[in-house]
C-alpha cells in the first residue's frame, strides 16, 4: 500500500530519508556479515560499523568509543537509566526525573522502584518547562544516583533548560542523562550531560536503531546479562544495514538542519496562530518560542481525541494525540497532565523534510470544519 495524504507524525517516525534508503540497500549487499568475526566479509562489516559510529559520534561531539548503537531509542533509554543507576548504586538509589519524560524512561524508573530504589518526579509549568528550583533541590537531596531530563518534550515541543539542569547536577555531583530523541538531527543539544540517548527513526533513519552515549568517566553498569558487543552496552547482534542507514541519514539531515529548522519553524508558527484564530475554544499548548522547530500541539474543547484522529485520517491527515484512548491507555498523556492543560481533543502535528506548505495550509483550511462537525455530533456546539 502506498501511503498518500499528509503525514504529520514525524515525532513518532519520520519518513525514511532517501540517503538512508540508498545506504540501507547498499549495506544489505555487503553489510550482512557479523562484524565480530575474522574473515573478509566480517572485516567489511566491521568497516561499515566503525564508519557509522565515527560519523554519529562526530555529529554528537563525542568519542566513538563512548557511543553504542542499540535496538531502539527505548532500549537506549532503558540502558541509560538502569545502567546509570546500577553504576552509582553505592552513591545513591534515588532517580530524579522530570514529570514529562518519555514513557521509556518512566517505565525504567518503575522497574528501579520495584527493585527497591526510589524515584522523584520534578514538575513543569503550564508551558511544559522544567521547574529549575525544584530540580536543583531534587538533585541536591541526599542519595541521588542519577537524574534524567528530556532535551525537549516529545508531546508539546517545549525545549528544556538542559544547560541549567546540568549545572545543578554538576554542583551536586550527580550524573545527568538526556533523552535527546526529539532533538538529535534537528537542533544542537547543550553540553554537560553524562549519558545521552537518541532514536534514528526520529531523524529519517530506519526504525529499530537507537544510540546510547556514555561519556568517559561516567560510572555505568550493564543491566543485562553479559555480552561483549558495543562495548558491553548492547546485548545481541546489531541490525548493521539499519545502523549504516541511520548514520547516513543523520549526516544528511545535520547538513540541512539549520535551514530545515527555519522552514519548519515558520510552518509551526503558522499552525499555532491560525489554529488559535480559526478554531474556537482551542488551547494551543507548549512554549510559544522556546520549542522544537517541527512539532506543535493543541487541544480542542469538547472533542474526543480518538474521533478527531479518525476524522483527520479520513481526510488524509496523519497526526497523533496525547488524549486518553488514542494510545493503548485509558489515561490522558502524563505530559499534558503534568502541565495542567486540557487533555481531551488533543492533536500533535509534527513535520519533516517532505512536509509542504500546501499540506499545512490544507490542514489549516479543513480543521475548523472537522472540529465543528465533531462538536455538533457530540451536542456541544455553542457551549
Amino acid at each position: 500500500m502506498t501511503v498518500t495524504g499528509a503525514y504529520f507524525d514525524a515525532a513518532t517516525a519520520a519518513p525514511l530519508h532517501p540517503v538512508a534508503r540508498q545506504a540501507l540497500l547498499a549495506a544489505l549487499e555487503d553489510g550482512w556479515a557479523d562484524p565480530n568475526r575474522l574473515y573478509t566479509q566480517a572485516r567489511r562489516a566491521r568497516q561499515l560499523l566503525d564508519a557509522a559510529r565515527a560519523v554519529t559520534a562526530d555529529i554528537l561531539g563525542v568519542r566513538p568509543d563512548e557511543l553504542s548503537f542499540t535496538a531502539s531509542g527505548t532500549a537506549a533509554a532503558h540502558a541509560a537509566v538502569l545502567g546509570g543507576l546500577a553504576g552509582r548504586h553505592r552513591a545513591g538509589r534515588t532517580f530524579v526525573h522530570s514529570a514529562i519524560e518519555h514513557s521509556a524512561v518512566l517505565h525504567a524508573a518503575q522497574r528501579h522502584v520495584a527493585a527497591g530504589g526510589a524515584a522523584a518526579s520534578v514538575p513543569v509549568d503550564r508551558l511544559g518547562r522544567l521547574d529549575p528550583d525544584a530540580w536543583a533541590a531534587a538533585v541536591a537531596a541526599p542519595g541521588v544516583g542519577l537524574a534524567a531530563l528530556i532535551s525537549a518534550s516529545h508531546e508539546v515541543g517545549t525545549v528544556q533548560p538542559v544547560a541549567a539542569a546540568a549545572e545543578a547536577c554538576a554542583a551536586a555531583g550527580v550524573p545527568l542523562y538526556v533523552d535527546a530523541a526529539q532533538s538529535v538531527g534537528r537542533t544542537p543539544v547543550p553540553e554537560g550531560w553524562s549519558l545521552l540517548s537518541a532514536s534514528a527513526h526520529k531523524w529519517g533513519g530506519p526504525p529499530g536503531v537507537g544510540v546510547l552515549v556514555v561519556r568517559k568517566g561516567t560510572r555505568w553498569e550493564s543491566p543485562y546479562p553479559a555480552d561483549e558487543r558495543e562495548s558491553g552496552r548492547t546485548p545481541g547482534v546489531l541490525d548493521l544495514p539499519a545502523v549504516v542507514a541511520a548514520a547516513a541519514a543523520l549526516r544528511a539531515v545535520t547538513a540541512d538542519a539549520a535551514a530545515e529548522a527555519t522552514r519548519l519553524r515558520a510552518l509551526v508558527d503558522r499552525v499555532r496562530t491560525t489554529v488559535a484564530a480559526t478554531v474556537p475554544d482551542v488551547e494551543v499548548v507548549g512554549h510559544p518560542t522556546d520549542r522544537l522547530p517541527h512539532l506543535v500541539t493543541f487541544s480542542c474543547l469538547y472533542v474526543d481525541g480518538e474521533a478527531l484522529l479518525h476524522a483527520l485520517d479520513r481526510r488524509g491527515f496523519a497526526v497523533s494525540s496525547g488524549s486518553s484512548c488514542t494510545a493503548s491507555t485509558l489515561r490522558p498523556s502524563h505530559v499534558l497532565e503534568a502541565m495542567g492543560v486540557l487533555s481531551h481533543g488533543n492533536v500533535r502535528v509534527s513535520l519533516h523534510r517532505d512536509t509542504t506548505e500546501a499540506e499545512v495550509d490544507r490542514f489549516l483550511a479543513e480543521l475548523p470544519q472537522v472540529v465543528a462537525d465533531l462538536r455538533a455530533e457530540a451536542g456541544a456546539a455553542g457551549l
Binding site: 474526543d304 488524549s323 486518553s324 490522558p332 492543560v341 481531551h344 451536542g379 456541544a380 457551549l383
Partner: protein
Amino acid sequence: MTGPTEVLDCLGQRCPLPVIALARRLPELPVGAVLRVLADDPAAAVDIPAWCRMRGQEFVGRVSPTSYDVRRER
C-alpha cells in the same frame, strides 16, 4: 463551608462527556452556585480544572477521587 448546590453524575462517562455536561449545566445555575461533578474518567482530573481556567469559572477543588466542585463565577 456549605455543600454543593447540585450534583451532576457523570460516573462511567469518558472525557469529554463530563466536561460537556458541566458546560451545559453550570450556566443554568445562579452565579455563586457550586456544581459537584462526579466523574471517574482519569482525564477529568485535568480537564475539569482546565475547562474552568478557559471559561473563567472557579475550580473549587477535587473533593474526593471522583468528585470535583466548580463555582459559577460569571
